[in-house]
Protein backbone atom coordinates (compact mmCIF):
# COMPACT_ATOMS: atom_id res chain seq x y z
CA UNK A 1 0.00 0.00 0.00
CA UNK A 2 1.37 3.45 -0.93
CA UNK A 3 1.38 6.58 1.26
CA UNK A 4 -1.91 7.85 -0.15
CA UNK A 5 -3.47 4.50 0.55
CA UNK A 6 -2.14 4.51 4.11
CA UNK A 7 -3.37 8.04 4.86
CA UNK A 8 -6.77 7.11 3.42
CA UNK A 9 -6.92 4.04 5.67
CA UNK A 10 -5.99 6.19 8.70
CA UNK A 11 -8.88 8.55 7.83
CA UNK A 12 -11.20 5.55 7.66
CA UNK A 13 -9.85 4.29 11.01
CA UNK A 14 -10.85 7.67 12.45
CA UNK A 15 -14.38 7.12 11.10
CA UNK A 16 -14.47 3.75 12.91
CA UNK A 17 -13.17 5.38 16.10
CA UNK A 18 -15.93 8.03 15.98
CA UNK A 19 -18.49 5.27 15.49
CA UNK A 20 -17.09 3.36 18.49
CA UNK A 21 -17.13 6.44 20.72
CA UNK A 22 -20.71 7.22 19.73
CA UNK A 23 -22.01 3.66 20.13
CA UNK A 24 -19.91 2.09 22.87
CA UNK A 25 -18.23 4.81 24.96
CA UNK A 26 -20.80 7.61 25.26
CA UNK A 27 -23.01 5.47 27.43
CA UNK A 28 -23.81 6.31 31.04
CA UNK A 29 -22.83 2.92 32.48
CA UNK A 30 -19.50 2.89 30.59
CA UNK A 31 -18.58 6.39 31.74
CA UNK A 32 -19.61 5.62 35.31
CA UNK A 33 -17.65 2.35 35.26
CA UNK A 34 -14.61 4.19 33.87
CA UNK A 35 -14.60 6.68 36.75
CA UNK A 36 -15.89 4.62 39.66
CA UNK A 37 -14.11 1.29 39.17
CA UNK A 38 -10.58 2.63 39.76
CA UNK A 39 -11.84 5.14 42.33
CA UNK A 40 -13.41 2.48 44.54
CA UNK A 41 -10.36 0.23 44.24
CA UNK A 42 -8.26 3.19 45.29
CA UNK A 43 -10.51 4.06 48.24
CA UNK A 44 -10.51 0.44 49.39
CA UNK A 45 -6.74 0.44 49.39
CA UNK A 46 -6.50 3.90 50.97
CA UNK A 47 -8.49 2.68 53.97
CA UNK A 48 -6.36 -0.42 54.30
CA UNK A 49 -2.90 1.21 54.10
CA UNK A 50 -2.92 4.65 55.65
CA UNK A 51 0.83 4.77 56.09
CA UNK A 52 1.45 5.44 52.35
CA UNK A 53 1.55 9.10 51.26
CA UNK A 54 -1.32 10.52 49.19
CA UNK A 55 1.04 11.35 46.31
CA UNK A 56 1.97 7.66 46.02
CA UNK A 57 -1.64 6.55 46.09
CA UNK A 58 -2.84 9.18 43.60
CA UNK A 59 -0.10 8.07 41.21
CA UNK A 60 -1.41 4.53 41.53
CA UNK A 61 -4.95 5.76 40.98
CA UNK A 62 -3.90 7.53 37.77
CA UNK A 63 -2.16 4.34 36.60
CA UNK A 64 -5.17 2.18 37.39
CA UNK A 65 -7.62 4.61 35.82
CA UNK A 66 -5.80 4.71 32.51
CA UNK A 67 -5.24 0.96 32.50
CA UNK A 68 -8.83 0.05 33.31
CA UNK A 69 -10.46 2.62 31.05
CA UNK A 70 -8.25 1.99 28.01
CA UNK A 71 -8.94 -1.74 28.30
CA UNK A 72 -12.54 -1.56 29.53
CA UNK A 73 -14.56 -1.61 26.31
CA UNK A 74 -12.18 -2.43 23.47
CA UNK A 75 -11.94 -6.20 24.16
CA UNK A 76 -15.70 -6.54 23.76
CA UNK A 77 -16.16 -4.50 20.56
CA UNK A 78 -15.18 -7.30 18.17
CA UNK A 79 -17.45 -9.88 19.88
CA UNK A 80 -20.34 -7.38 20.00
CA UNK A 81 -19.94 -6.49 16.36
CA UNK A 82 -19.50 -10.13 15.38
CA UNK A 83 -22.74 -10.97 17.16
CA UNK A 84 -24.63 -8.06 15.56
CA UNK A 85 -23.12 -8.85 12.14
CA UNK A 86 -21.88 -5.27 11.87
CA UNK A 87 -18.35 -6.65 11.71
CA UNK A 88 -19.32 -8.28 8.42
CA UNK A 89 -20.47 -4.86 7.24
CA UNK A 90 -17.04 -3.42 8.08
CA UNK A 91 -15.27 -6.40 6.49
CA UNK A 92 -17.11 -5.85 3.20
CA UNK A 93 -16.10 -2.16 3.16
CA UNK A 94 -12.79 -1.02 1.63
CA UNK A 95 -10.94 -1.06 4.94
CA UNK A 96 -8.11 -3.39 5.97
CA UNK A 97 -8.36 -5.43 9.17
CA UNK A 98 -5.54 -3.26 10.52
CA UNK A 99 -7.73 -0.21 9.90
CA UNK A 100 -10.58 -1.66 11.96
CA UNK A 101 -8.17 -2.51 14.79
CA UNK A 102 -6.58 0.95 14.61
CA UNK A 103 -10.03 2.57 14.75
CA UNK A 104 -10.93 0.60 17.89
CA UNK A 105 -7.55 1.47 19.42
CA UNK A 106 -7.98 5.19 18.74
CA UNK A 107 -11.39 5.15 20.45
CA UNK A 108 -10.12 3.38 23.56
CA UNK A 109 -7.02 5.59 23.68
CA UNK A 110 -9.15 8.74 23.65
CA UNK A 111 -11.55 7.32 26.24
CA UNK A 112 -8.63 6.35 28.50
CA UNK A 113 -7.02 9.77 28.19
CA UNK A 114 -10.30 11.59 28.82
CA UNK A 115 -11.10 9.75 32.05
CA UNK A 116 -7.47 9.86 33.24
CA UNK A 117 -7.37 13.64 32.85
CA UNK A 118 -10.30 13.81 35.27
CA UNK A 119 -8.30 11.76 37.80
CA UNK A 120 -5.27 14.01 37.39
CA UNK A 121 -7.44 17.07 37.95
CA UNK A 122 -8.86 15.45 41.10
CA UNK A 123 -5.31 14.82 42.31
CA UNK A 124 -4.35 18.43 41.67
CA UNK A 125 -7.51 19.58 43.43
CA UNK A 126 -6.49 17.51 46.48
CA UNK A 127 -3.33 19.61 46.66
CA UNK A 128 -0.82 17.46 44.80
CA UNK A 129 1.96 19.32 43.05
CA UNK A 130 2.69 18.43 39.44
CA UNK A 131 6.47 18.62 39.13
CA UNK A 132 7.06 17.17 35.65
CA UNK A 133 3.99 18.04 33.56
CA UNK A 134 5.47 17.22 30.16
CA UNK A 135 6.63 13.82 31.37
CA UNK A 136 3.12 13.14 32.61
CA UNK A 137 1.57 14.12 29.26
CA UNK A 138 4.05 11.94 27.33
CA UNK A 139 3.47 9.07 29.75
CA UNK A 140 -0.32 9.28 29.50
CA UNK A 141 -0.23 9.44 25.68
CA UNK A 142 2.15 6.51 25.35
CA UNK A 143 0.49 4.36 27.97
CA UNK A 144 -3.00 5.03 26.56
CA UNK A 145 -1.81 3.68 23.18
CA UNK A 146 -0.11 0.74 24.87
CA UNK A 147 -3.12 -0.19 27.03
CA UNK A 148 -5.56 0.14 24.14
CA UNK A 149 -3.35 -2.30 22.19
CA UNK A 150 -3.55 -4.66 25.19
CA UNK A 151 -7.34 -4.26 25.11
CA UNK A 152 -7.39 -5.26 21.45
CA UNK A 153 -5.04 -8.19 22.15
CA UNK A 154 -7.57 -9.47 24.68
CA UNK A 155 -10.16 -9.48 21.86
CA UNK A 156 -8.09 -11.76 19.62
CA UNK A 157 -9.77 -15.11 20.51
CA UNK A 158 -12.41 -15.41 17.77
CA UNK A 159 -15.49 -15.69 19.95
CA UNK A 160 -18.60 -13.61 19.44
CA UNK A 161 -19.66 -14.05 23.07
CA UNK A 162 -18.62 -10.86 24.89
CA UNK A 163 -18.83 -12.45 28.38
CA UNK A 164 -16.10 -14.97 27.44
CA UNK A 165 -13.76 -12.16 26.49
CA UNK A 166 -14.61 -10.06 29.55
CA UNK A 167 -13.82 -13.03 31.80
CA UNK A 168 -10.46 -13.54 30.10
CA UNK A 169 -9.88 -9.82 30.28
CA UNK A 170 -10.46 -9.71 34.07
CA UNK A 171 -8.21 -12.74 34.57
CA UNK A 172 -5.32 -10.89 32.96
CA UNK A 173 -5.98 -7.32 34.03
CA UNK A 174 -6.36 -7.73 37.80
CA UNK A 175 -3.12 -9.67 38.41
CA UNK A 176 -1.30 -7.03 36.32
CA UNK A 177 -2.51 -4.30 38.69
CA UNK A 178 -1.09 -6.14 41.69
CA UNK A 179 2.36 -6.67 40.19
CA UNK A 180 2.81 -3.17 38.80
CA UNK A 181 3.79 -1.13 41.87
CA UNK A 182 0.39 0.44 42.32
CA UNK A 183 -0.44 -0.82 45.80
CA UNK A 184 3.06 -1.84 46.81
CA UNK A 185 6.04 0.37 45.87
CA UNK A 186 8.50 -1.38 43.53
CA UNK A 187 11.27 -0.69 46.07
CA UNK A 188 9.52 -2.91 48.61
CA UNK A 189 8.93 -5.82 46.24
CA UNK A 190 10.84 -9.10 46.49
CA UNK A 191 13.15 -9.93 43.57
CA UNK A 192 10.62 -12.29 41.95
CA UNK A 193 7.99 -9.57 42.25
CA UNK A 194 10.32 -7.09 40.59
CA UNK A 195 10.96 -9.55 37.76
CA UNK A 196 7.22 -9.82 37.21
CA UNK A 197 6.80 -6.04 37.47
CA UNK A 198 9.34 -5.62 34.69
CA UNK A 199 7.07 -7.58 32.37
CA UNK A 200 4.13 -5.25 32.95
CA UNK A 201 3.89 -1.97 31.00
CA UNK A 202 1.72 -0.64 33.83
CA UNK A 203 4.81 -0.65 36.12
CA UNK A 204 6.65 1.79 33.85
CA UNK A 205 3.64 4.05 33.50
CA UNK A 206 3.03 4.15 37.25
CA UNK A 207 6.72 4.87 37.79
CA UNK A 208 6.50 7.81 35.36
CA UNK A 209 3.36 9.18 37.03
CA UNK A 210 5.04 8.94 40.43
CA UNK A 211 8.05 10.77 39.02
CA UNK A 212 5.75 13.46 37.62
CA UNK A 213 4.09 14.06 40.99
CA UNK A 214 6.88 13.36 43.50
CA UNK A 215 10.15 13.42 41.59
CA UNK A 216 10.86 9.86 42.85
CA UNK A 217 11.21 6.94 40.49
CA UNK A 218 12.41 3.35 40.55
CA UNK A 219 13.57 2.91 36.94
CA UNK A 220 15.41 5.68 35.06
CA UNK A 221 12.85 7.86 33.25
CA UNK A 222 14.27 7.03 29.83
CA UNK A 223 13.90 3.32 30.57
CA UNK A 224 10.25 3.87 31.52
CA UNK A 225 9.58 5.74 28.28
CA UNK A 226 11.56 3.31 26.12
CA UNK A 227 9.78 0.34 27.70
CA UNK A 228 6.38 1.90 26.99
CA UNK A 229 7.38 2.61 23.38
CA UNK A 230 8.58 -0.97 22.88
CA UNK A 231 5.49 -2.49 24.54
CA UNK A 232 3.22 -0.25 22.44
CA UNK A 233 4.93 -1.23 19.18
CA UNK A 234 5.03 -4.94 19.99
CA UNK A 235 1.41 -5.06 21.18
CA UNK A 236 0.13 -2.97 18.25
CA UNK A 237 1.90 -5.03 15.59
CA UNK A 238 0.97 -8.24 17.43
CA UNK A 239 -2.71 -7.41 17.76
CA UNK A 240 -3.00 -6.37 14.11
CA UNK A 241 -1.28 -9.54 12.93
CA UNK A 242 -3.38 -11.79 15.15
CA UNK A 243 -6.69 -10.10 14.30
CA UNK A 244 -5.92 -10.49 10.61
CA UNK A 245 -5.58 -14.22 11.21
CA UNK A 246 -8.67 -14.64 13.39
CA UNK A 247 -11.06 -12.25 11.65
CA UNK A 248 -12.41 -14.78 9.09
CA UNK A 249 -13.24 -17.16 11.96
CA UNK A 250 -15.66 -14.58 13.38
CA UNK A 251 -17.75 -14.42 10.19
Amino acid sequence: MNLTGISEQVRRAWAIAKKDIRIYYFKGPVLIFGVFMPLFMFLAFLMGSRQLPLSFLISGLVGMTLFFTATAVSPAIFPWEGQARTLERLASCPVAVETIVLGDMIASTLFGIGITVITVVVGLALGLLLIHGITLIVAILLAACCFSAIGMLLAVPPTNVPSNIMMLSSLIKFPLVFISGIFLPLEQMPSWGLALAGLSPLSYFTDLVRYSFTGDHFFPVWIDIAALVVFTLVFTVGTMYLHKRTMPKRM
Partner: protein, 309 residues
Amino acid sequence: MTSVIHASGLTKIYGTSTAVDHISFDVRQGEIFGFLGPNGAGKTTTTRMLTGVIPPDAGTAVILGHDIRSEPVKAKQRFGVVPETSNAYTDLTAWQNLMLMGELYGLPRARAEQRSSDLLGMVGLLERRDQKVQAYSKGMKQRLILAMALIHEPELLFLDEPTSGLDVQSTQMILSLLRDLNTQGTTIFLTTHNMEEANRLCHRVGIIRAGKMAAIDAPEKLKTAIDRVHTIEVSFDNEIRDDALAGLDGVIGASRTGDKWQITAENRDAVIRSLVTFSQQQGMTIVTLNTLTPSLDEAFLRLTKEAQS
Protein backbone atom coordinates in the same frame (compact mmCIF):
# COMPACT_ATOMS: atom_id res chain seq x y z
CA MET B 1 -18.61 -8.96 -23.04
CA THR B 2 -16.38 -7.97 -20.08
CA SER B 3 -16.55 -10.09 -16.92
CA VAL B 4 -17.00 -8.12 -13.73
CA ILE B 5 -16.84 -11.27 -11.62
CA HIS B 6 -14.53 -14.09 -12.56
CA ALA B 7 -14.65 -16.99 -10.09
CA SER B 8 -12.28 -19.84 -10.75
CA GLY B 9 -12.19 -23.04 -8.70
CA LEU B 10 -13.53 -21.31 -5.56
CA THR B 11 -13.50 -23.70 -2.65
CA LYS B 12 -14.35 -23.38 1.04
CA ILE B 13 -13.93 -26.19 3.53
CA TYR B 14 -15.26 -26.15 7.11
CA GLY B 15 -13.72 -29.02 9.05
CA THR B 16 -14.58 -32.15 7.09
CA SER B 17 -17.39 -30.53 5.13
CA THR B 18 -16.82 -28.88 1.75
CA ALA B 19 -19.23 -25.95 1.67
CA VAL B 20 -18.18 -24.76 -1.79
CA ASP B 21 -16.47 -27.18 -4.13
CA HIS B 22 -14.36 -25.73 -6.95
CA ILE B 23 -17.00 -23.57 -8.53
CA SER B 24 -16.21 -21.42 -11.54
CA PHE B 25 -18.36 -18.86 -13.31
CA ASP B 26 -18.35 -15.39 -14.82
CA VAL B 27 -20.76 -12.53 -14.37
CA ARG B 28 -20.88 -10.16 -17.32
CA GLN B 29 -20.92 -6.42 -17.16
CA GLY B 30 -24.43 -4.95 -17.01
CA GLU B 31 -26.33 -8.15 -16.27
CA ILE B 32 -28.43 -9.25 -13.34
CA PHE B 33 -27.05 -12.63 -12.35
CA GLY B 34 -29.23 -14.77 -10.10
CA PHE B 35 -27.48 -17.21 -7.79
CA LEU B 36 -29.94 -19.89 -6.77
CA GLY B 37 -29.74 -22.93 -4.59
CA PRO B 38 -31.45 -24.73 -1.72
CA ASN B 39 -30.60 -23.95 1.92
CA GLY B 40 -27.05 -24.94 2.76
CA ALA B 41 -26.01 -25.20 -0.90
CA GLY B 42 -23.19 -22.70 -0.46
CA LYS B 43 -24.76 -19.50 -1.78
CA THR B 44 -23.89 -17.25 1.16
CA THR B 45 -20.44 -18.78 1.55
CA THR B 46 -19.76 -18.08 -2.14
CA THR B 47 -21.01 -14.50 -1.78
CA ARG B 48 -18.81 -13.98 1.27
CA MET B 49 -15.77 -15.25 -0.61
CA LEU B 50 -16.55 -13.02 -3.58
CA THR B 51 -16.96 -9.97 -1.32
CA GLY B 52 -13.74 -10.67 0.59
CA VAL B 53 -15.44 -11.31 3.94
CA ILE B 54 -13.94 -14.79 4.19
CA PRO B 55 -10.92 -16.12 2.27
CA PRO B 56 -11.34 -19.11 -0.06
CA ASP B 57 -9.35 -22.27 0.74
CA ALA B 58 -8.63 -22.66 -2.96
CA GLY B 59 -9.35 -20.85 -6.19
CA THR B 60 -9.49 -17.19 -7.09
CA ALA B 61 -12.08 -14.47 -7.43
CA VAL B 62 -11.34 -11.48 -9.60
CA ILE B 63 -13.79 -8.65 -9.05
CA LEU B 64 -13.74 -5.75 -11.51
CA GLY B 65 -10.19 -6.67 -12.44
CA HIS B 66 -8.89 -6.92 -8.87
CA ASP B 67 -8.06 -10.18 -7.13
CA ILE B 68 -10.15 -10.13 -3.95
CA ARG B 69 -7.30 -11.65 -1.91
CA SER B 70 -4.35 -9.59 -3.12
CA GLU B 71 -6.20 -6.29 -3.76
CA PRO B 72 -9.21 -6.41 -1.43
CA VAL B 73 -9.44 -2.68 -0.75
CA LYS B 74 -9.36 -1.75 -4.46
CA ALA B 75 -12.01 -4.35 -5.27
CA LYS B 76 -14.26 -3.43 -2.34
CA GLN B 77 -14.04 0.25 -3.23
CA ARG B 78 -15.96 -0.52 -6.43
CA PHE B 79 -18.76 -2.77 -5.23
CA GLY B 80 -21.55 -2.61 -2.66
CA VAL B 81 -22.94 -5.40 -0.50
CA VAL B 82 -26.43 -6.03 0.84
CA PRO B 83 -25.99 -9.03 3.16
CA GLU B 84 -28.56 -11.60 4.18
CA THR B 85 -28.95 -10.17 7.69
CA SER B 86 -29.57 -6.48 8.13
CA ASN B 87 -26.39 -5.13 9.66
CA ALA B 88 -26.82 -1.41 10.04
CA TYR B 89 -25.73 -0.04 13.41
CA THR B 90 -28.98 -0.01 15.38
CA ASP B 91 -27.66 2.52 17.91
CA LEU B 92 -27.07 5.02 15.12
CA THR B 93 -29.65 6.88 13.06
CA ALA B 94 -30.13 6.16 9.36
CA TRP B 95 -28.30 9.39 8.58
CA GLN B 96 -25.35 8.49 10.85
CA ASN B 97 -25.14 5.03 9.26
CA LEU B 98 -24.98 6.53 5.78
CA MET B 99 -22.42 9.14 6.80
CA LEU B 100 -20.28 6.39 8.34
CA MET B 101 -20.45 4.47 5.07
CA GLY B 102 -19.53 7.66 3.21
CA GLU B 103 -16.40 8.00 5.34
CA LEU B 104 -15.50 4.32 5.00
CA TYR B 105 -15.69 4.64 1.21
CA GLY B 106 -13.65 7.85 1.29
CA LEU B 107 -16.36 10.20 0.03
CA PRO B 108 -15.91 13.93 0.64
CA ARG B 109 -18.36 15.10 3.32
CA ALA B 110 -20.48 17.28 1.00
CA ARG B 111 -20.80 14.43 -1.51
CA ALA B 112 -21.68 11.95 1.25
CA GLU B 113 -24.40 14.31 2.54
CA GLN B 114 -25.85 14.76 -0.93
CA ARG B 115 -25.83 11.03 -1.65
CA SER B 116 -27.30 10.20 1.77
CA SER B 117 -30.13 12.64 1.25
CA ASP B 118 -30.85 11.35 -2.27
CA LEU B 119 -30.70 7.69 -1.24
CA LEU B 120 -32.92 8.14 1.83
CA GLY B 121 -35.43 9.86 -0.41
CA MET B 122 -35.17 7.03 -2.93
CA VAL B 123 -35.88 4.32 -0.33
CA GLY B 124 -38.59 6.35 1.39
CA LEU B 125 -36.77 6.97 4.67
CA LEU B 126 -35.92 10.66 4.41
CA GLU B 127 -38.50 11.70 7.00
CA ARG B 128 -37.11 9.17 9.50
CA ARG B 129 -33.45 9.93 8.85
CA ASP B 130 -32.81 11.04 12.45
CA GLN B 131 -34.50 8.06 14.08
CA LYS B 132 -32.32 5.29 15.51
CA VAL B 133 -32.36 2.16 13.35
CA GLN B 134 -33.45 -0.02 16.31
CA ALA B 135 -36.94 1.46 15.89
CA TYR B 136 -37.13 0.50 12.20
CA SER B 137 -39.19 -2.37 10.81
CA LYS B 138 -37.44 -5.19 8.94
CA GLY B 139 -38.42 -3.71 5.59
CA MET B 140 -37.11 -0.28 6.56
CA LYS B 141 -33.82 -1.79 7.76
CA GLN B 142 -33.41 -3.66 4.49
CA ARG B 143 -34.09 -0.50 2.47
CA LEU B 144 -31.53 1.34 4.59
CA ILE B 145 -28.98 -1.42 3.99
CA LEU B 146 -29.55 -1.06 0.26
CA ALA B 147 -29.02 2.69 0.53
CA MET B 148 -25.82 2.10 2.53
CA ALA B 149 -24.54 -0.25 -0.17
CA LEU B 150 -25.18 2.39 -2.83
CA ILE B 151 -23.56 5.38 -1.10
CA HIS B 152 -20.46 5.27 -3.32
CA GLU B 153 -22.32 4.55 -6.58
CA PRO B 154 -20.85 1.05 -7.03
CA GLU B 155 -20.44 -0.55 -10.44
CA LEU B 156 -21.37 -3.92 -8.98
CA LEU B 157 -23.89 -4.77 -6.29
CA PHE B 158 -24.02 -8.03 -4.32
CA LEU B 159 -27.36 -8.85 -2.73
CA ASP B 160 -27.94 -11.89 -0.52
CA GLU B 161 -31.66 -12.67 -0.20
CA PRO B 162 -32.58 -8.97 -0.20
CA THR B 163 -36.35 -9.50 -0.09
CA SER B 164 -36.47 -12.53 2.21
CA GLY B 165 -39.25 -12.10 4.77
CA LEU B 166 -40.19 -8.60 3.63
CA ASP B 167 -43.68 -7.16 3.14
CA VAL B 168 -44.98 -6.71 -0.41
CA GLN B 169 -44.40 -2.95 -0.42
CA SER B 170 -40.73 -3.21 0.57
CA THR B 171 -40.18 -6.15 -1.80
CA GLN B 172 -41.65 -4.28 -4.76
CA MET B 173 -39.69 -1.14 -3.91
CA ILE B 174 -36.39 -3.06 -3.72
CA LEU B 175 -37.02 -4.99 -6.95
CA SER B 176 -38.00 -1.82 -8.76
CA LEU B 177 -34.83 -0.09 -7.50
CA LEU B 178 -32.73 -3.02 -8.68
CA ARG B 179 -34.26 -2.81 -12.16
CA ASP B 180 -33.59 0.93 -12.29
CA LEU B 181 -30.01 0.47 -11.09
CA ASN B 182 -29.40 -2.19 -13.70
CA THR B 183 -30.86 0.02 -16.40
CA GLN B 184 -28.37 2.70 -15.34
CA GLY B 185 -25.52 0.20 -15.80
CA THR B 186 -25.01 -1.41 -12.38
CA THR B 187 -24.19 -5.11 -12.56
CA ILE B 188 -26.15 -7.09 -9.99
CA PHE B 189 -25.26 -10.40 -8.32
CA LEU B 190 -28.45 -11.56 -6.65
CA THR B 191 -28.70 -14.54 -4.33
CA THR B 192 -32.30 -15.59 -3.90
CA HIS B 193 -34.65 -18.44 -3.03
CA ASN B 194 -37.46 -16.78 -4.89
CA MET B 195 -37.72 -18.38 -8.34
CA GLU B 196 -40.37 -15.95 -9.55
CA GLU B 197 -38.11 -13.05 -8.55
CA ALA B 198 -35.15 -14.61 -10.38
CA ASN B 199 -37.29 -15.41 -13.40
CA ARG B 200 -38.57 -11.86 -13.73
CA LEU B 201 -35.36 -10.06 -12.86
CA CYS B 202 -32.31 -12.02 -13.97
CA HIS B 203 -30.63 -12.16 -17.34
CA ARG B 204 -28.85 -15.36 -16.33
CA VAL B 205 -29.02 -17.63 -13.32
CA GLY B 206 -26.52 -20.01 -11.79
CA ILE B 207 -27.83 -22.93 -9.75
CA ILE B 208 -25.66 -24.30 -6.96
CA ARG B 209 -26.29 -27.59 -5.22
CA ALA B 210 -24.17 -29.12 -2.44
CA GLY B 211 -21.38 -26.65 -3.17
CA LYS B 212 -21.21 -27.39 -6.89
CA MET B 213 -22.59 -25.49 -9.86
CA ALA B 214 -25.45 -27.46 -11.37
CA ALA B 215 -26.24 -25.11 -14.26
CA ILE B 216 -25.72 -21.59 -15.56
CA ASP B 217 -27.92 -20.12 -18.27
CA ALA B 218 -30.73 -17.68 -19.05
CA PRO B 219 -33.91 -18.60 -17.11
CA GLU B 220 -35.90 -19.37 -20.27
CA LYS B 221 -33.14 -21.56 -21.66
CA LEU B 222 -32.83 -23.42 -18.37
CA LYS B 223 -36.56 -24.05 -18.31
CA THR B 224 -36.59 -25.47 -21.82
CA ALA B 225 -33.30 -27.30 -21.55
CA ILE B 226 -34.46 -29.63 -18.79
CA ASP B 227 -37.06 -31.29 -21.03
CA ARG B 228 -36.11 -32.75 -24.39
CA VAL B 229 -39.81 -33.33 -25.13
CA HIS B 230 -41.96 -30.21 -25.16
CA THR B 231 -45.68 -29.78 -24.80
CA ILE B 232 -47.82 -27.53 -26.97
CA GLU B 233 -51.45 -26.81 -26.22
CA VAL B 234 -53.69 -25.88 -29.14
CA SER B 235 -57.41 -25.41 -29.79
CA PHE B 236 -59.31 -24.86 -33.04
CA ASP B 237 -62.69 -23.35 -33.88
CA ASN B 238 -63.88 -26.69 -35.35
CA GLU B 239 -63.84 -30.31 -34.29
CA ILE B 240 -61.01 -32.47 -35.71
CA ARG B 241 -60.46 -36.23 -35.94
CA ASP B 242 -58.56 -37.90 -33.11
CA ASP B 243 -55.77 -39.11 -35.40
CA ALA B 244 -55.45 -35.94 -37.50
CA LEU B 245 -52.80 -34.26 -35.33
CA ALA B 246 -50.79 -37.38 -34.50
CA GLY B 247 -49.77 -37.71 -38.13
CA LEU B 248 -48.32 -34.21 -38.49
CA ASP B 249 -44.57 -33.69 -38.96
CA GLY B 250 -42.64 -33.64 -35.69
CA VAL B 251 -45.58 -34.67 -33.49
CA ILE B 252 -44.73 -37.48 -31.06
CA GLY B 253 -48.16 -37.69 -29.47
CA ALA B 254 -51.48 -35.85 -29.28
CA SER B 255 -54.18 -36.14 -26.62
CA ARG B 256 -57.39 -34.28 -26.09
CA THR B 257 -58.27 -32.47 -22.86
CA GLY B 258 -61.63 -30.72 -23.06
CA ASP B 259 -61.64 -28.46 -26.11
CA LYS B 260 -57.83 -28.39 -26.28
CA TRP B 261 -55.20 -30.72 -27.69
CA GLN B 262 -51.94 -31.37 -25.91
CA ILE B 263 -49.20 -32.20 -28.38
CA THR B 264 -45.77 -33.53 -27.45
CA ALA B 265 -42.82 -32.84 -29.71
CA GLU B 266 -39.04 -32.61 -29.72
CA ASN B 267 -38.96 -29.65 -32.11
CA ARG B 268 -41.49 -27.03 -31.05
CA ASP B 269 -40.79 -24.76 -34.00
CA ALA B 270 -41.46 -27.52 -36.59
CA VAL B 271 -44.70 -28.56 -34.87
CA ILE B 272 -46.04 -25.02 -34.63
CA ARG B 273 -45.39 -24.57 -38.35
CA SER B 274 -47.17 -27.89 -39.05
CA LEU B 275 -50.16 -26.81 -36.96
CA VAL B 276 -50.46 -23.51 -38.80
CA THR B 277 -50.29 -25.31 -42.19
CA PHE B 278 -52.81 -27.91 -40.95
CA SER B 279 -55.31 -25.27 -39.84
CA GLN B 280 -54.99 -23.45 -43.18
CA GLN B 281 -55.50 -26.69 -45.14
CA GLN B 282 -58.56 -27.60 -43.04
CA GLY B 283 -59.99 -24.08 -43.29
CA MET B 284 -59.94 -23.72 -39.51
CA THR B 285 -58.80 -20.99 -37.20
CA ILE B 286 -56.40 -21.55 -34.33
CA VAL B 287 -58.19 -20.20 -31.22
CA THR B 288 -55.36 -20.66 -28.71
CA LEU B 289 -51.75 -21.86 -29.00
CA ASN B 290 -49.54 -22.18 -25.92
CA THR B 291 -46.11 -23.66 -25.46
CA LEU B 292 -46.05 -25.23 -22.01
CA THR B 293 -42.58 -24.84 -20.54
CA PRO B 294 -41.63 -25.96 -17.06
CA SER B 295 -41.52 -23.15 -14.48
CA LEU B 296 -38.15 -22.07 -13.13
CA ASP B 297 -39.22 -23.79 -9.91
CA GLU B 298 -39.47 -27.08 -11.80
CA ALA B 299 -36.17 -26.48 -13.56
CA PHE B 300 -34.55 -25.67 -10.23
CA LEU B 301 -35.93 -28.76 -8.53
CA ARG B 302 -34.94 -30.97 -11.46
CA LEU B 303 -31.43 -29.58 -11.71
CA THR B 304 -30.73 -29.66 -8.00
CA LYS B 305 -32.11 -33.21 -7.78
CA GLU B 306 -29.90 -34.34 -10.69
CA ALA B 307 -26.85 -32.76 -9.10
CA GLN B 308 -27.62 -34.50 -5.83
CA SER B 309 -28.11 -37.96 -7.35
